[in-house]
Symmetry: C2
């Protein structure tokens, strides 16, 4: 559990904004939605870096659709399993808990598969 | 397991550099060293963002020493347990697997304690 001393309402608000904490495996959705659940855990207004938690539950990128991102993406599977496919000669990656991959900007990729029966939790850093 | 097709030596080198992958819990040190083990998993030459794996094994920041960093640090405990202390009115944070905290730049903090008998694996994003 994470605790933080609060001295008063105004102080509390400032600290909550500047100093967020939590658990990447907490508060998973009770039932899977139509789309993946994406939550921003941290971001930097100046350089645009973003850290996200993504929860998949059998979700995959539609066939023939690709992510083509302006930023590098370092992504790790915290829980569950997933397969990432790439639009080049590279083989698919099967990621299990703790596995990460650093996907360069504009490297076209898609999520080909995630475990159908449980939540797959990703941690993604767009930098 | 992570696999990637290689078409030749020159191709392989380029891809290895641009496209690193692994597991944050793999290749832990056989015996703990004098200092924490710090490994850069990804970095961006342009904006200086860095993603590190840190392995502690009973290590702590020396008493009365503080980290005072120019960058924000989003840090998560992947395995193990740790306590982070702050140089202000904020209470210590006891972090267990999956717990994260976003430490603003120049927020003075130290690692007060990590589990003495096992590896505590951190994932840190300096952004």
């Amino acid at each position: 559990m994470i605790t933080a001393k609060r001295n008063g309402e105004a102080d509390m608000v400032v600290h909550r904004q500047a100093f967020s904490s939590g658990n990447v495996l907490a508060d998973l959705p009770a039932t899977p939605g139509t789309n993946e659940l994406i939550q921003v855990l941290a971001s930097h207004a100046g350089n645009g870096v973003k850290i996200e938690r993504i929860v998949s539950h059998g979700h995959a990128t539609p066939l023939y659709e690709w992510y083509d991102q302006t930023r590098h993406e370092w992504v790790m599977v915290v829980q569950g399993e997933a397969i990432i496919a790439f639009d080049n000669e590279r083989d698919d990656l099967h990621l299990r808990a703790g596995d990460y991959v650093d996907i360069p900007a504009h490297c076209r990729h898609r999520v080909a598969w995630t475990l159908p029966d449980t939540d797959t939790v990703w941690l993604a850093v767009f930098y």
